[in-house]
């Protein structure tokens, strides 16, 4: 269990690597599938790298260990980032990533048990925090006081009333083994959160619902670690904790930052190459894709009918 208060520079470098390759792999997966959520995957890259790099107590070789920490990706559309992080951390072979959005492959949104490390079936926004609270309650009923439940939410997702039902019940049941993290990237699917359905001030809302509120820069590895250090070890006072992580949607790609167009579009192979170049520039690297990317084709209904009639 690494020190989160003063994390070792080597550890932070490992986090940096993980976050970079998560972004790189997201580009590969989304481009190959012709579908996926790029912006919200990129805004969560550092958070996931830190979580699976040492914040979460979880062993890739024993992902079912009852004493593990639980991680629930409520904003399950960021699945490419989670899949990539899990693969990079050794939960399953990198190759398996490339079944993303294929038959018998990894779903566009996470499905519980579909691959090692996935705890929760999601995709319908607003449902994850309740599930996480139920998980936290279960741990307490089992007198497992060592494990924590961490739930990652989107800011637009906080429009959903169920988030506030869950927030109210977690405080009522004094679930101080529950940590919610808001990927506060200020953008939802079709525009700025403040334009479409403002959730501000998030700090006051969670405080009024009985939570301890912490904040950090969601792309600053040391800040992330420090926030979790406080959340995991200092705040065991009968209140659930929320970390408001200020992030940038599409972080790392000038073209995609704060740009809702890239919430859910897939780049063409050519665009993807350009994006990788941008990433290399942003992070001072010279990485390549693991393969030549090809865009998929879906002939849809027409292809199916025409093929059969041509028999």
């Amino acid at each position: 269990m690494p020190c989160l208060k003063h994390p070792d520079p080597a550890l932070l470098r490992a986090f940096t690597d993980c976050a970079f390759h998560t972004r790189r792999l997201c580009l590969e997966l989304i481009t190959q599938a012709g579908w996926g959520h790029l912006g919200g995957s990129f805004s969560a890259a550092e958070l996931l790298a830190c979580l699976y790099g040492g914040i979460l107590t979880i062993d890739p070789r024993a992902p079912g260990d009852p004493l593990r920490d639980r991680f629930i990706l409520s904003k399950a559309h960021a699945s490419p980032a989670l899949y990539a992080t899990l693969a990079l951390r050794g939960f399953f072979p990198i190759e398996r990533l490339f079944t993303y959005c294929r038959l018998d492959g990894l779903d566009g949104h996470t499905q519980r048990g579909q691959c090692p490390g996935i705890e929760y079936s999601g995709g319908s926004l607003g449902t994850g925090l309740s599930y996480a609270a139920g998980t936290a309650l279960a741990l307490r009923l089992e007198e497992n006081f060592g494990s924590r439940v961490v739930c990652l939410l989107g800011d637009g997702e906080c429009n959903e009333g169920q988030i506030w039902e869950a927030a109210m019940s977690a405080a009522h049941h004094r679930l101080d083994n529950l940590i919610a993290v808001i990927d506060y990237n200020k953008v939802m699917a079709k525009g700025k959160t403040s334009d479409l359905m403002s959730v501000a001030p998030l700090r006051d809302k969670f405080a009024a619902f009985g939570w301890t509120v912490l904040a950090c820069d969601g792309h600053d590895l040391a800040e992330i670690c420090l926030a979790f250090h406080r959340a995991k070890y200092l705040e065991m006072n009968g209140r659930p904790v929320v970390i408001i992580a200020h992030t940038v949607k599409g972080r790392g790609l000038p073209a995609a930052e704060f740009n809702y167009h890239w919430h859910t579009h897939a780049p063409t192979p050519a665009q993807a190459e350009g994006f990788l170049a941008d990433l290399n520039r942003t992070y001072g690297r010279a990485e390549k894709f693991s393969r030549a990317l090809v865009a998929p084709t879906d002939g849809g209904l027409e292809a199916v009918i025409t093929a059969d009639l041509a028999l």
Binding site: Q111, S124, T127, Y131, A133, A138, Q162, E165, A166
Partner: protein, 321 residues
């Protein structure tokens, strides 16, 4: 035939059986949404306060919490009125529970028209249709106290999601204390040649009454009880179709997509015969006592006998032609 009626309402049996199961299964949890003295989960609460979780008036969260708890290996009974179990949290039941096939047993209290005076918002005539449309969810409606109890024991040894109804009614005694419940298995309560009356839940008692009336006029009506709507007893439906050639279903539910629909899907596929459905139509509920609702919606032995009589005539005309 003289039916006797239990002095103990179904919901009381629900509460008592939860306590019984709670004793045998330490990992059984009961979740409530501010209705425990109505649903009678209060009996479990008093006996096992540490395994009773109050979730307040927040049904989406109720089922989300249930999913999270079940994912850690608990068997969870979230409980609220059928109307809210069906309409307030369908997404949570579907995405978080049905798909991952978690061990959650959903009790729908005050189902059908048994919320009586509460009116449209609390009565629920679509839960069977809605729950039947979800993957992996077993759906049932017990006919009497013994069957509810047997059903709850059966679901404890059957992993995965179940939706079952707990009507607010004093049920007629259809079965004995030794009654066995099996998912997918129905019961032939009365043999008959001319028509088969098929019921689910406590409505089967009305079918028995109708059969009695038909018998007096020389019409031989079989009566079958299908407590398990999904999976449904296709063998029994086939036998009834072959032997009587005309089925009349009755349910405490709308006639779209419930028991009548499930039976018609089977007969149409395998044994094309006449199937008519009795239940609620495409209408809003009145708020009134149960006896008035049953008569108002023509869900009585006399009404069912009349429908059966007409059905038998149509069948005979059809085969004559």
């Amino acid at each position: 035939m003289k039916l006797s009626y239990s002095k103990i309402p179904l919901r009381e049996i629900f509460g008592e059986t939860l306590v019984e199961l709670g004793a045998a299964h330490p990992r059984l949890l009961v979740l409530d949404a501010d209705l425990n003295t109505s649903s009678r989960t209060v009996l479990f609460k008093q006996r096992y306060p540490d395994r009773f979780v109050q979730c307040g008036i927040a049904e989406a969260n109720l089922f989300g919490l249930a999913a999270g708890l079940a994912a850690q290996g608990f068997t969870v009974f979230p409980s609220t009125f059928a109307a809210f179990a069906t309409r307030k949290a369908l997404d949570q039941v579907y995405v978080n529970i049905a798909y991952p096939q978690l061990d959650v047993k959903i009790a729908g209290s005050y189902c059908g028209m048994t919320a009586t005076e509460c009116g449209p918002s609390h009565n629920c005539a679509e839960d069977l249709a809605v729950m039947r449309s979800l993957p992996h969810v077993k759906v049932c409606d017990p006919g009497d106290n013994h069957e509810l109890r047997a059903m709850m024991h059966a679901m404890m040894v059957t992993p995965g999601p179940v939706y079952f109804r707990v009507a607010k009614v004093n049920a007629p005694e259809l079965f004995g204390a030794d009654h066995k419940f099996e998912f997918g298995r129905g019961h032939l309560l009365r043999e008959g040649r001319d028509v088969a009356l098929v019921g689910t839940g406590f409505m089967t008692a009305i079918a028995l009454g109708a059969a009695e009336l038909l018998d007096r006029e020389g019409i031989s009506a079989a009566v079958a009880h299908l407590p398990s709507i999904k999976p449904i007893d296709e063998q029994l439906i086939g036998k009834l179709a072959r032997e009587t050639g005309a089925l009349l279903t009755i349910e405490n539910h709308r006639i779209h997509g419930g028991l009548g629909g499930a039976v018609a899907e089977v007969t149409a596929r395998d044994y094309p015969v006449h199937v008519e459905a009795m239940g609620l139509g495409d209408t809003v509920f009145e708020a009134a006592p149960l006896q008035d609702l049953l008569r108002h919606y023509e869900l009585t032995p006399c009404a069912m006998a009349a429908r059966a009589r007409a059905l038998v005539q149509r069948k005979r005309r059809a085969s004559a032609a």
